[in-house]
Amino acid sequence: MLPFLTRRLIVAALVALAVSAVSFGLMFVAGDPAVVLAGQAGRAQDVEIIRQAYGLDRPMPLQFFSWIGKALTGDFGTSLYFNLPVGAIIAERLPVTLILGSAAFLLALLVSVPLGILASIRPGSALDRAALMLAVFGQAIPSFWLGLILIVVFGVWWSLVPISGTETWQGYILPVIVLSYYAMPALMRMTRAGMIDVLGADYIRTAQAKGLPRIRILLIHALRNAILPLVSLAAVQFGMMLSGSIVIESVFAINGMGRLAWESLLRSDLPVVQAIILILSLIYVTLTTIADLINAWLDPRLRSA
């Protein structure tokens, strides 16, 4: 397990370095960052002052590593709009996004895994086909649009939930549903496919021949193996939920990290955007690494891969 662990962690560290380079590089997409920082009214000498003040006159690799070095200590620079440390601004918004993402993730698993298992028991049955149909139709609905429609129906017409904000826990209901539903079809299909594969295996036949209760075979013997691909997919989906919440947060006017990123983009507050991209990427790298480690723990054969 130890060589696998080391190798996997080295890869994760390299990927983290590469995503940092991308988010650092964004600063240069729009051209000379000093000119961008100086704004439209900036004169040539202002640009020069800014270039020196922000260290933009230094060689690029030097700038990159000093940026990363600071980021590692939690110093993401200063927001151009708030004139406050970026780290503090994000720390204030991150919990909202994490609550939203985690709740949506749990809901997605609670719905899609049991549904996938039920569908896998009898492939081709009415239940199975209904679940697959649901998945096809569900995938066709854009989440931001579903959010708006739910606001109209449950918030405006029936007044069951607040139409925006997260001051009360009721405010989380619709965003969590909308954020989670989009991950459900993929998770459901993966559970179903994994279970169908496993249920055809010889050891399941043996378990049945021994007369074990069916529920035990399904949930203990089969699920343990069927869950392997699901763990990886779940990690990916959770990461995508956190970054996808940018759309949902703007629909429901939730003051999370996603909305902060969007607003910062609209007011060209690049340090905030860079930091958020970096944080989301690092969360994703961590999640997928953990998923790989869980898989290696569940199935020792993977450790040599």
Partner: protein, 293 residues
């Protein structure tokens, strides 16, 4: 015990169902998609009005199912008095154009990377796999938004940015398919003829990837259309007055209380298009699977 009978009768039934599902999906999705293609091609002829002509005296007219509707505008008008039916019909051009254009470009990039990784293996594979992992680790919506914002919001920037970002699925699938093909006899034969690497990749390997590429491309078109709509909805994609469905939903948002049909209609159009593409994609995949087994 049904779980035991997976082979034999049940397997047969399953395969039959799969084939029926596949053909229903292909037909339904195909017909729907053909219809939308037709609309996109002939939008200027089908539309009763110019999609960007404003008429502030006829703002926010309701669609035909309201009593006060004006039948000259069957689906009403938006906040600037533009005919909503005309905008909806022209919106199909934006969605299909971006969806197909981006998929082709991204598909070319991803296929090339996947082919090289799968064919050469070793260090090349390691490097390309690393690039793929890095790309997968980036929050796609946010990076696309940032790149579009910095490059100046427009449909063209959006198309370029999405093409440079959405090649991942192609690369992953092509890479593993190529690995499976690399040691087959016909590839080895080409090698022993002394064919160049490029020739082997393009003439021996690529034609054999056709089926997989069709499936991935179809499903990717749906993905691209959804992303374009989401980015335009957030104001960092299509610019007004372009009739993009995502942008129309954003514009309708301010009238969500009294005129919710302004957001309901373009969203429904999006759903229909995505459904058509997905039905077709799933159907083709199932049909190919059934043929393979």
């Amino acid at each position: 015990m049904t779980m035991l009978d997976l082979d034999g009768r049940l397997l047969q039934r399953r395969r039959l169902w799969r084939r029926i599902n596949a053909s229903v999906g292909i037909r339904l999705g195909g017909v729907l998609l053909a219809l939308i293609f037709f609309i996109a091609l002939f939008a200027p002829l089908l539309s009763p009005h110019d999609p960007i002509a404003q008429d502030l005296t006829r703002r926010l007219l309701p669609p035909f199912w309201h009593a006060s509707a004006d039948l000259a505008h069957p689906l009403g008008t938006d906040h600037l008095g533009r005919d909503y039916l005309a905008r909806l019909l022209h919106g199909s051009q934006v969605s299909l154009g971006i969806g197909i254009g981006v998929t082709l470009l991204a598909g070319a990039i991803g296929t090339m990377l996947g082919l090289m990784a799968g064919y050469f293996g070793g260090r090349v594979d390691m490097l390309i796999s690393f690039v793929i992992t890095t790309r997968l680790s980036l929050p796609i919506v946010l990076v696309a938004l940032a790149a579009v914002a910095l490059g100046g919001a427009s449909l063209r920037t959006l198309a370029i940015v999405l093409s440079l970002l959405l090649w991942d699925r192609f690369a992953v699938v092509v890479r593993s398919a190529t690995q499976g093909l690399r040691n087959r006899e016909f590839v080895q034969a080409a090698v022993s003829f002394g064919a160049s690497h490029l020739r082997i990749m393009l003439c021996s390997l690529l034609p054999n990837l056709r089926n997989i590429l069709i499936v991935v491309a179809t499903l990717e078109v749906a993905n691209v259309i959804l992303l374009e709509a989401a980015l335009s909805f957030l104001g960092l994609g299509a610019r007004p007055p372009t009739p993009s469905w995502g942008l129309m939903i954003a514009e309708g948002r301010e009238h969500i209380l009294f005129d919710p049909w302004l957001i309901a209609l373009p969203g429904a159009a999006l759903c229909l298009l995505i459904l058509a593409v997905n039905l077709l994609g799933d159907g083709v995949r199932d049909a190919l699977d059934a043929k393979a087994s």
